[in-house]
């Protein structure tokens, strides 16, 4: 019985991590309608920035996390202005080719600069080990992930639903022409959103190094997971990807625990079943644009 709760906990932590990694992609793909397969590259950047700061410059872990966000967001902003902008109106195939190219370039660049072996971020002692909570083993690091990601999700939802920027973004997405007619600076809103999504990925990359491992192949290895989250969740809000991440996280952990022989397939089976049932994802818009 206790292992059931431990598994549930692990699954939630894993799901939350997936969400932070992938929600930026949900925004670019769903809201801005841009297929950005290079999303994982921004996550990797954040991870490596954090690793270098903590391991080589001796920064405390919690000080390096915000910088992982900032660094990825800045790189995201620069690339958005210089490269991505030109592809917003191109076909999805062009966007896929372009962003896959970016992925390979980032893999080669990181391999060259940092070497190909796996990097670990030194985490503070306080985050190591498990807490025993009425017989249920709770990993401290995973608990921290749940707390950070939970706060982020709540914050994101508030910003999107309640603030002026949120309504501008939604307006810009629903109808860019009408929005700019109303005086909304659509390119600026998009650029900011894109950079923010990249920053979140960077933060996710830094957080995930401990659990998923960090190496130059990160963007390729986890691309599929990000895409699953976005397709299953549907890409019209962030609630969809959030629930999808949780479902996949718990499904993956439970599948590997209870049926280890076919464990790795569980997450794909869930995806297929959901997509047959709801082709636009759990919370996808039924009316196609």
């Amino acid at each position: 019985m206790t292992s059931l709760f431990t598994n549930l906990f692990d699954g939630v932590a894993y799901g939350m991590l997936l969400f932070v990694l992938a929600c930026g992609l949900a925004v670019t793909l769903g809201l801005m309608n841009f297929v950005n397969l290079a999303h994982g590259a921004f996550a990797m950047t954040g991870g490596y920035v954090c690793a270098v700061l903590v391991n080589q410059s001796g920064w405390p872990f919690f000080a390096a996390l915000p910088l992982a966000f900032v660094a990825s967001a800045l790189i995201g902003a620069v690339l958005e202005r210089s490269l991505y902008r030109h592809l917003y109106n191109r076909s999805h195939l062009d966007q896929v080719l372009f962003s896959v190219g970016l992925v390979f370039m980032s893999v080669a660049a990181v391999d060259y600069i940092m070497g190909s072996s796996r990097v670990f971020i030194r985490i503070p002692q306080a985050l190591e080990g498990q807490i025993d909570f009425f017989g249920v083993g709770i990993g401290r690091y995973r608990l921290m992930i749940i707390v950070i990601c939970g706060l982020l999700t709540a914050g994101l939802q508030l910003v999107l639903a309640r603030t002026r920027f949120g309504s501008r973004l939604r307006a810009a997405v629903d109808d860019p022409r009408a929005a700019s007619g109303l005086g909304i600076n659509v390119p600026q809103v998009f650029a900011f959103t894109f950079a923010f999504g990249c920053g979140l990925a960077g933060l996710g990359g830094a957080l995930s190094a401990e659990i998923l491992g960090l190496d130059p192949y990160f963007p390729l290895k986890f691309m599929i997971y990000f895409l699953i989250v976005v397709t299953v969740g549907g890409s019209s809000s962030i609630t969809g990807p959030f629930l999808a991440s949780l479902l996949l996280g718990i499904g993956d952990v439970a599948g590997k625990y209870y049926v280890p022989k076919i464990g790795p397939f569980v997450i794909y089976t869930i995806m297929i079943v959901i997509l047959i049932w709801r082709p636009n994802g759990l919370f996808g818009r039924t009316a196609a644009r």
């Binding site: 292992s3 431990t6 598994n7 692990d10 894993y14 391999d111 070497g115 190909s116 072996s117 796996r118 670990f120 190591e128 080990g129 498990q130 083993g137 990993g139 690091y141 401990e210 659990i211 998923l212 491992g213 190496d215 192949y217 290895k221 986890f222 997971y225 993956d252 952990v253 439970a254 599948g255 590997k256 625990y257 280890p260 022989k261 464990g263 790795p264």
Partner: protein, 398 residues
């Protein structure tokens, strides 16, 4: 008509020119070959297996620095190619090296599929293929020109199985990566461990590209074994040990045992104190207490700034084998003569005494049982028991 004859004439001219060129090359080639012996080194220098390639390449450079680059009056030239551990690349590169560069040896091979891909080429070209890394038993059976200086997984897995039964470990849960070497390790361990009266209480194969060990480790913990047998590819060892400690398996009294790949010297220090007390069986530890090894480790550290692992030592012995064989043939590079020279060869390596089995052309070496301990603030595999001259169990069985 006129045009045609013109074409014909130019064609004949160019043919004649080519003929002269070929004759020239033919006359020139043997003179050149008298001087240099070429070794085509195919290693993964990029990609997930790059640490293997780098260690072997470093060790060969070190050896040639120490012993010079001439043997039996002939200069040795290494041609390094990167296959990124993709067998298709290996095959293409091996072919290019044999046909274009006319190499006398092919060597390296980071993973089993790469070594297998080159095997038919070695047979056809009749040149020795020196396997310096890949560890599946069958490799040396795929060509009479293959000689191995690394290890086989059977060697360390059977030994750790025997050791575990004798040392009060009765219930073991296994966690192995689901690919050929992982399955080799699992099967040989299981056979020896259960034959001695041990019991396997849980068996989990994890996918090779596995992001998170958490659920598998939880399963191990709930099975409450005395120890868990682990084989994951070298790169994943660190990640595994971290999660092992995070989940408190060390505090639950579940020891980690296995073949030594998990505790590669190259990565050991990054694993943290969680690795302390892990018992593995393997061919080499940087802490091996011989004068030769101390010198090897010191000069390797000085040259490359890191500790040599078992891959480095396999490369070091591989190049030594080539040198020694050339010495024995007096510099002759006939493939069959070289293989004959290598068979049964015995020498002292940084890992201890080793030899080449004359029947299987596979390595015979001591397997050491080691425990991870802290020496001078660094983690080392400290050897405490030795099984002498272990042959490959994968073949002696037949």
């Amino acid at each position: 008509m006129f045009i045609r004859t013109k074409i014909l004439r130019t064609r004949m001219l160019s043919l004649a020119a080519a003929g002269v060129a070929i004759a020239g090359v033919a006359a020139w080639a043997p003179a050149q070959a008298q001087e240099t012996v070429k070794i085509g080194l195919i290693l993964p220098m990029t990609g997930g297996q790059a640490s293997t390639g780098k260690q072997i390449d470093n060790a060969i450079k070190l050896y040639m620095q120490q012993k010079g680059d001439t043997v039996a009056g002939r200069k040795i030239e290494i041609i390094l190619k990167d296959d990124a551990a993709v067998p298709d690349n290996t095959k293409r590169l091996a072919q290019e090296l044999i046909v274009n560069d006319k190499v006398n040896f092919i060597a390296g091979f980071g993973v089993t599929p790469a070594a297998l891909a080159a095997a038919p080429l070695a047979t056809q070209a009749k040149i020795p293929e020196i396997v310096m890394a890949a560890g599946t038993s069958i490799i040396t059976e795929k060509s009479p020109y293959i000689v191995r200086t690394s290890f086989t997984l059977a060697q360390s897995s059977t030994i750790i199985g025997d050791w575990a039964v004798k040392n009060g470990i009765k219930k073991v849960a296994t966690l192995t990566s689901d690919y050929a070497p992982g399955n080799d390790a699992l099967n040989f361990f299981k056979e020896h461990f259960t034959a001695g009266g041990g019991q396997i209480v849980e068996e989990v194969k994890v996918p090779l590209a596995n992001p998170d060990f958490a659920p598998f480790l939880q399963r191990m913990k709930d099975a409450k074994p005395d120890a868990m047998f682990v084989f994951v590819p070298a790169g994943q060892g660190g990640n595994f040990m971290k999660q092992y400690a995070e989940r408190g398996l060390d505090k639950a009294g579940i020891k980690v045992i296995g073949p030594g790949d998990v505790m590669d010297d190259d990565l050991l220090n990054g694993m943290g104190d969680a690795a302390l007390g892990t018992v593995t069986a393997h061919l080499y530890s940087a802490a091996h207490p011989s004068a030769m090894n101390k010198e090897f480790v010191a000069s390797y550290k000085k040259a490359f700034g890191s500790r040599p692992g078992f891959m480095a030592v396999s490369g070091y012995d591989g190049i030594h084998l080539i040198y020694a064989a050339l010495q024995k043939t007096g510099g002759k590079t006939d493939g069959d003569a070289l293989i004959e020279a290598m068979k049964g060869m015995k020498w002292e390596s940084p890992r201890g005494p080793i030899s080449i089995d004359p029947e299987t052309r596979d390595i015979v070496q001591n397997i050491y049982i080691r425990k991870v301990e802290k020496v001078d603030g660094e983690l080392y595999n400290v050897e405490f028991a030795t099984f002498e001259a272990v042959k490959d169990a994968g073949k002696t069985k037949k």
